[in-house]
Symmetry: C2
Subunit: 698 residues, 2 copies
């Protein structure tokens, strides 16, 4: 269906006019001027001809079949026009008009009406609040914005989808500026019917599309997005995304802009990592990365070669590469030997300054060094930073030819502004990707190296762990709302995660007896659903050595809580063994509105808060995935052992992550959040123990 | 002197030729073609005329005075030509030729010869291994590179200095591309004589220069750089620097490129922060930031307004702003009220999407919103991200006019590529700064906000602390080399930093008696200059409760050290009180080759290593500076108290930093490095204690 809409044989413009100050006038003008080869149907009740084409008073008068129609009519006529489209069997309708869900509840009602009409007739809607689409291969610009319809439209193999029409204009222009072309570029606005994933799936199957560049504000259906990403991966088509809403400020804007709920960005990032989606910082860079990936594919490693005719430029590039966490490759002996024939012994070979050589073969070395470095088996991708140099134009052209003759990604950075405009024109003509600023070179390399790494990871073998209890039954017994520590731990225990020996007692019961049974020393904790941070309220006493100490501690806790959390109901006390471990960690889960159950792990105590050093993944996860999450923590050396510190039980921790992920996956939306915090991690082979836990059931 | 050289009345080109394939031919051609108005003296033994100007067989034949000469002769004639320049009283000589100190020791010898000749004659040298300079105000291009001599050269108020000629070409071109101009741009190469700071000082005094953009690889004299930076600050001229050599890969390159030793980059960063030098990531961005600062000055706060006609673009911008650690301002009520007249209630006001308004005043609101937001007292700087929109060209032009009519920095980001080329041309004509990528907008804003903050900090009142002993006398007694813990602590104690009670004993002496005197429990540590990490070698035993435990521990330590550090000589044992505290911190000092004594502080134990969370400053520091260093640590909340944690003794820690900084400053290059690690920090009012220390004296 979408194929027919995006590759129509016939196009109608309802509200077409010869006046390009009107929006229906611009739409029909672009269709006609670009030379669309299919049937063009202008509809206007008061004109017999528009832009030299016979016009019809109504769509019915024109007669079908019509593949796609643009509704360029005042808002009040949108719904009736849509009904008319339905009657003549139009397949797809573009609603450019704004003032729908993005302005609030009342607009949402109007939008839902449109969708209802469309569904009734089997019409698919693009928009509302969008700018239409272009298909340069058909010379078709179905848009009201001149910015989307440059002449000529850049024909090529990048599929573009954007929730923002204006951002799409920038993506198309930037594509053209760097010599990239577009298969189809679609602006999808409020996604009332056809949504981002419809277009991703279209591009995954479209033979003209080699890579996909997306600007997204919010995903309507996380699971579907994952499915679409997998389809792209199976089709061998890189999916590159820039997504706004990463911060609260950005998120508030996306809501008012295209009625998008941004969702938790760290979860989106985790999904991109696990599903091999190439994530970049901004929409223009998405186009650049998609272009590089379409031409060269993904790097098959992380070793970079960095070179420039200018020593200054290559020094800047090397600093930026290293600071971005990228790796400069160690060259093989044969590459080194070949380079050393021409490069003075005082110069490093990678990063390489190849300018100013005292040889009559200077031009050849300047151009061929790119190929020599790329051919090195240790090099996965190349950053060549152009700079002012003799015959720079001829060199840039030759670099483009050499780059395109190979399979490994080459990022040409043309930083010296208009000084290398001639080189840009040559690269555009060749179809060789380039960028204009070092930021883009580094950003593209960082993104494609990560993408290549994601592609090489094998799909995990996710299996339900053994000795995993009936957590649903436990949850049923617990009911809903905020759980007490003891209740939360009963879920953990059912999932097979070790918890402290403990007993909960009513305020009037004998705490000392319970303590004696557990064995001294013990900890005593207040039980109160109104006290979410027990320590802050003075509700925890530890290291209680005997019965007397336990009774005294209970009194202290009562006083503290009465003072610091007035009104909190003390339901009882939790008597607990004093557990020991080497390191505090947090293992938790969240229910994400877009993607569902998510498991997380981080270094415990204050470090998660201060440093945000956590790793996330969609639940459930496999043991190998859990280990990879641990390895990706900045604090991993604290677990893995470093500078004389003991190696801790990473296997036990990975197992706890797996179990908590299954707990979250099995309870689904019932488990809103779960935190086992702290979990005390012990030395390798000695396991771990969860000392405290919090949970909220729906 | 430098003024006369950079603004010469007469210019000689030794080796001038009419053949522009020759380097002397290009130099004279650029001088003539740009229309330099002063005296032009081509020197060529075998021509009577070059480029239509009478040539002389020798400089002596031409006769003086000559302000500046370029030596465009083969390497073997450089020294004799320089001698000849000396004889006729040339003030400055440019040596473009390479193959000097940057190729190693032998080249350094040849370079030193040139300097000796120059000194003998009172000549100042630019280069060698440089590309000369341009002075667009005099229409003078003294360079062999066409890239430095675009026609017309961009005349303006940014002073440019670069160690790399090729990078300078890119800076000049990027300046021209964004409508900025140059007062003088000088490429300084190996800085054999005239160095970076000579040019900074020149620009600080030059009435045509309003801001300074620098690409540096290494500083020859850190103290002089600080002096030059202060001179710029006093002159009210922003000094913007991009420096390579931040990483080891970059540093190796700068050495082979312009014979520059990069020095420790974190120290350079600390100097820039303290001396109000605006630090940016790359040379092109240095020009952009210098342009913004020249037009608008520095922001007087950190509150940003972010706006765009496009909801998508402003969402991307807002995310980037927040992720860069910048702050979006809370608007005042009156600004909000004014905006709300036109902006629908569902949209936030800052960041602001001002496109697609349903008002007949849409154009006015689209253009004037910039001025309204800038006028808000809570707004210190504005980021306006252009996007495809109706009448975008007219809007961009108007934004430029509004921006230039005010005093607060406005960064116009023109991301939609060639779609807004017309707007670019208008902004260039207006002289209004702009950038083309969001990265540059964010990078410039981050840099100028930090720069503004640095300008507002008052100069610290650095005073020698009371009760600070004669550390030089202590150092004299200790001699040189790696100190033992006990020796290092004697320096700390002399500086007035509390250290553990302890006694060092020879292997044969009675450890138990020493322990009894200190009071049980004690710690026992091996004393051996060969063991740098005592714990790793099993050379530390703690919590020894009685004499028996002390004797057993000594035996264990002997065994451990014999096994793990074979060959290490055990000089004795250190018997030490068991000290307590809430948090481990490190306070240290380093002797930096460029800047001298540096003091550092970080969270102790593994976190400095893992997270690199340290703060540096040149020694000595004032108490207020030391407190500011603590506040800038990522781990500051661990010291300042957070989530029920106690507030620790930040005053005592600041005092220790001050004392260590004075220790480092007074010992100067004798103290190569000092680490008090760990220092146990206690609760507010309870002080701290240094438990271990290492030091190396020269």
């Amino acid at each position: 269906m979408l194929r027919a809409i995006l590759n129509p044989a016939s196009v109608a413009v309802i509200g077409a006019s010869s006046d390009t100050l009107k929006f229906g006038g611009r739409v029909i003008r672009f269709v006609v001027d670009h030379g669309f080869g299919g049937r063009i149907v202008p509809v206007n009740p008061s004109a017999t001809e528009v832009c030299g084409i016979a016009a019809y008073p109504s769509l019915s008068a024109a007669g079908g079949p019509i593949d796609v129609a643009v509704l360029a009519v005042p808002t009040r006529f949108i719904a009736p026009s849509l009904e008319e489209c339905g009657k003549v069997g139009v397949k797809g309708v573009i609603v450019i008009t704004a003032d729908y869900a993005e302005v609030g509840a009342e607009g949402k009602v109007r939008q839902d009406e449109l969708v209802a009409i469309a569904r009734r007739h089997g019409i698919r809607l693009i928009g509302p609040n969008c700018l239409g689409f272009i298909n340069p291969h058909l010379a078709l610009a179905l848009t009201s914005s001149v910015a989307l319809a440059p002449k000529p439209m850049p024909k090529g193999d990048i599929g573009i989808v954007s929730q923002s029409g204006s951002v799409m204009a920038s993506m198309i222009t930037n594509a053209r500026d760097v010599g990239a072309g577009v298969s189809v570029a679609a602006s999808i606005g409020n996604q009332a019917d056809l949504e981002l994933c419809d277009f991703i799936e279209y591009f995954a199957d479209d033979p003209l599309t080699r890579s996909i560049a997306i600007y997204a504000e919010g995903l309507l259906d996380g699971k579907r997005f994952i499915g679409a990403a997998r389809r792209c991966r199976e089709a061998g088509k890189p999916l590159v995304i820039a997504k706004s809403g990463a911060t609260e400020a950005g998120s508030r804007l996306t809501q008012s802009h295209t009625a998008s709920l941004a969702g938790a960005h760290p979860v989106f990032e985790a999904v991109c990592r696990d599903e091999a989606v190439c994530l970049v910082d901004d929409p223009e860079r998405a186009v650049m990365a998609a272009h590089v990936l379409a031409r060269f594919g993904a790097p098959d490693g992380d070793g970079l070669a960095v070179l420039s005719p200018s020593g200054g430029t290559v020094a800047v590039a090397a600093d930026r590469v290293i600071r971005a966490g990228l790796r400069i490759a160690e060259l093989s002996a044969s590459t080194a030997a070949r380079l050393r024939q021409y490069i003075p012994p005082t110069r490093p070979l990678n990063p390489l300054e190849f300018g100013g050589l005292a040889t009559d073969k200077s031009f050849e070395v300047n151009t061929e060094a790119l190929g020599w470095l790329r051919a090195d088996p240790n090099v996965a991708a190349v950053l060549l930073a152009a700079a002012s140099a003799p015959q720079v134009d001829a060199k840039i052209k030759r670099w483009g030819e050499i780059a395109l003759a190979g399979e490994k990604p080459v990022v040409l950075a043309l930083c010296p502004g208009s000084l290398v405009d001639r080189g840009r024109a040559d690269l555009r003509a060749l179809g060789c990707p380039f960028v204009n600023r070092m930021d883009d070179a580094i950003g593209v390399l960082r993104a494609i190296v990560d993408y290549g790494h994601a592609l090489r990871r094998s799909r995990p073998n996710v299996q339900r762990p053994s000795a995993f209890g009936d957590v649903k039954a436990v949850a049923d017994r617990l009911g809903g709302g905020t759980l007490t520590e003891h209740e939360a731990k009963s879920l953990l225990a059912a999932a097979g995660v070790p918890v402290t020996r403990e007993a909960q007692r009513a305020p009037t019961e004998d705490l000392a007896a319970a303590a004696a049974e557990i064995g001294f020393p013990v900890a005593l904790k207040v039980v109160s659903r109104q006290v979410s941070h027990k320590s802050d309220a003075g509700g925890v006493q530890i290291g209680l050595a005997d019965e007397h100490a336990v009774r005294a501690a209970a009194a202290t806790i009562r006083d503290n809580v009465a003072q610091r959390a007035p009104g909190a109901i003390v339901e009882g006390f939790l008597v607990q063994e004093m557990a020991r471990g080497e390191l505090e960690v947090i293992v938790g889960s969240r229910w994400d509105a877009q993607f569902g159950a998510v498991v997380m792990v981080g270094l415990g105590g204050i470090y998660v808060e201060l440093l945000g050093d956590v790793q996330l993944a969609l639940a459930p996860v496999a043991h190998a995935q859990a280990l990879a999450m641990l390895g990706a923590l900045a604090g991993w050396p604290l677990i893995g052992g470093v500078r004389g510190r003991p190696r801790l039980d990473s296997d036990a921790l990975a197992d706890a992550i797996v179990r908590l992920s299954w707990l979250a996956a099995e309870l689904g939306p019932r488990l809103l959040e779960f935190d086992a915090n702290p979990v005390l991690l012990r030395r390798a082979g000695e396991g771990l123990i969860a000392v405290d836990a919090r949970a909220t059931l729906a």
